[in-house]
Subunit: 276 residues, 4 copies
């Protein structure tokens, strides 16, 4: 009997291609570079950039990649994604299964603002390309947002931080590395237009980390879907660390109340000078 | 009505603790360090080490972390984990859902050799602690393995590579950074004992990347479960890159034959000098 | 320290409610019925209906529930969802982990036609409510579909079956049980309008199983999202059976080519008379 | 370039077989039966049995399948599996993604007692096959369990119910249907031996639903791994119903405290007579 085609719509198998990794006896190429040669010469963030984009980053882009990946490394004990991972871990599930459960805890209300802000910025740049100044484009966007009642816009404001320290740092790094180009300029212009808007008097909506990442990814040339992929990669260590901590410190099968925990780690300490 | 206890065994909720991350208004501490201060000063691999172990790595340990994470960044198009991710991606599932499916494609036959090799090395170090030399402990382990027919031992040999270039490179880096201590010495001694064993004449079983990672994680002091967690983290970018490539280059709902693909990426190119 | 609010937007925990299941010592109520009393009196499909809708189904609705759940019980070896589950299973992952991977293999191109067809039918019924006859509403929908080049419409035609035997059977059962009401009438009218449309001459687009389920769920009063949930429930046994068969019959870590398999189960046999 | 073999151990693809489902144009066979003929003649539970075992169940076995699947249909709002699903759902994840997260919330401490109890019963039956009476085998098992401090044994006792109403009902149904054979006899003998054991005075350890399912699955001839697969299937409707209720009744991104909910569904009502 001939193997049947799929009844659900799969097309017949055919030869296909991948440009990611070549594996031959004793020789592994990632995007054309020998993997053993990459080891010790590029760091993990640079290798991620290489794998996702096809090229090695410049040293400045590499630093921004590291800063963005570090900025998202943990969101604390209360987000639903962390709780999905911890609820799996408390049943004795494997760390990897717990991480998978955690990833499933990113729906459209959680982790989607980077993409939504990027779309907003792309709209604004389209206006600018039609001849408006960046300030005028920003003002027009803000008018539209206020009219449509879509406040806060994605990438601005934070219900917990009045100023998001991660956003400040990322924007500053991009500035130091001379990567604050059209996306960064536009996001600052929008922040300014929001702060001046008559109907928002007194409401502070500074750029948050989602907005800063959206702008920086735009300025270093990462397509939206690559930026979104970066976010998932950056959240894995935190999910894994929570699953690991759950299994090390807590009894199995506990009821996890997200509002009744305390932080008992070290208090404020400084990053050693040698790293600056 | 009082909220009932769970019928499946959950204990009553109580105050619990986390030592990972503190989130206060405008101030985020990861393991006691301000997250915004870490950004730009430590790279992603160092931040992962910090999150998982509680301390910043020394520069040498940081370099080994990067080398290990880079070494596992992609395993090509054919492993079942990649195919699970691609089969999700071809249905139009999100990149994050595809990554989760890929993680579920790591069962006990796939991705478990690092832990199994670590257990073997711990057995050997136990023998050495009882007074045997490293060489004698290795010989005893190999005799036991051969007797019990458990060949190849986890961490040795490769069905595809006669010499695993990633293992060679990682062991060399550990040597250069003066981190080849008891675990590395023992794994080399086992490799030597295997090569000399009468019943294995002609069979080459060099240390592979799983073995090299097991040894290096041992020598830098990472507990087994942290080493295992590292592996999952290291495999995410590859799973994500395959899901992304699937959706960019292929038609939806295709039947993916893992034996009929070609690599069409760049051919061998060198890592630029500046990075060496 | 007061437990911090979530930085990602979680609102403060508060008392919440569930209407599904009450668990008290020695007494479990599902939607108000004692679970032990349901056991042996209602079958699994009826219990699923109860859990999802809050009420026990009539005997006729119960039979249609069973028919729909049975109709989707397996889609064979080639759909990406099955392959995601089998690729997890071949690595030695647990059956439950393999099932989870399989569920992740339902993206927007796979398993979404029931909902899309339901939306189409709801559009048509809206037209009918505005005063058109069912036939006129169907003709208008088909004109619109043809104009917009959206052929085949969701719920019609099949790339593999010229007549989907499951759809025929489900529509016939609904007819026998006097449940072919407005949704069923409309879907037949659309099928008729498609068969008569000048520009589709010779192209057969009969109602498929997705369309039949969409219509029957509509006529028995299930909201769209409940219909969608039913589909996921119905696909689990097939995913689990493939994962189980993979681990029983095949060697671990095999490369699974979806185009090179054969069916070696029993050939055509009849359902025993007593069940009719 | 020839497609490379996998470096992670996948063997070359080859022709493989499935005995589950044959799909030909206009003809679908599940285990040899036409799927359209099964629809309306066998119910969902019977079709699940057919798919997993290869044969249709007798009417009595069909009723026991239904009773077991119904008994596990929901475990309420507090188990970690439910919470993993609800934490995914609150982020706006799809119902299917939430169900997958819920499945990942079954680790070795949650949902594993059916298999563990089955292994205990198989040990006991092995003793009985060696010539002991069922009572003597039970007494020996209980002595061993008490000595090794493994109390309660899997399948006995409940931290919430003093008598598990589901277990009582399932055992009674198996008795009525004359299916209480060696596994059921042994589990009752163990229950009796536990109640008489000197060192357990006053501690009540009646058979719970996990134990009852283990015994009934044994007596109807289901292999362990099929029994385990049944459990996963039976838990899906509950996970889906919780995800659906979460999205219908609660605001997105809420912090879900598993100890502060109330049941607000109907109070005790009777299953209508016609179903008895």
């Amino acid at each position: 009997m001939a193997p049947p085609k799929s009844p659900t719509g799969a097309t017949a198998a055919r030869r296909w291609s991948t440009a990611l990794t070549l594996i031959e006896p004793n020789r592994i190429l990632v995007r054309g570079f020998r993997l053993d040669e990459l080891m010790g010469r590029v760091n993990f963030a640079e290798a991620i950039y290489l794998l996702l984009t096809g090229e090695l980053p410049s040293p400045s882009v590499g630093r921004l990649m590291d800063a963005m990946l570090v900025s998202f490394i943990d969101h604390g004990a209360t987000p639903p994604s962390t709780l999905a991972a911890r609820n799996a871990a408390t049943t004795g599930a494997s760390i990897r299964g717990s991480v998978a459960a955690g990833i499933l805890g990113f729906g459209r209300y959680h982790g989607g603002d980077v993409l939504a802000c990027r779309a907003l910025l792309d709209d604004g740049l389209e206006l600018a390309r039609q001849g408006r100044s960046v300030a005028a484009a920003a003002a027009e966007l803000v008018d539209r947002i206020v009219e449509q009642g879509e406040l806060p816009p994605p990438g601005f404001g934070h219900r917990f931080h009045s100023v998001d320290p991660r956003a400040t740092r990322l924007m500053q790094l991009a500035h130091e590395l001379e990567f604050d180009q059209e996306y960064s300029q536009l996001i600052r212009a929008i922040e300014h237009a929001l702060s001046c808007h008559a109907s928002l008097k007194g409401r502070s909506l500074p750029v948050n980390i989602d907005g800063a990442i959206a702008a920086v990814c735009g300025d270093i040339g990462l397509p939206s879907e690559v930026a979104d992929t970066l976010l998932i990669i950056s959240r894995i260590p935190g999910l894994a660390a929570h699953a690991l901590e759950e299994q090390r410190r807590e009894k199995p099968m506990r009821a996890i109340d997200p509002t009744s925990y305390v932080y008992d780690g070290p208090s404020d300490r400084r990053v050693p000078e040698r790293r600056k």
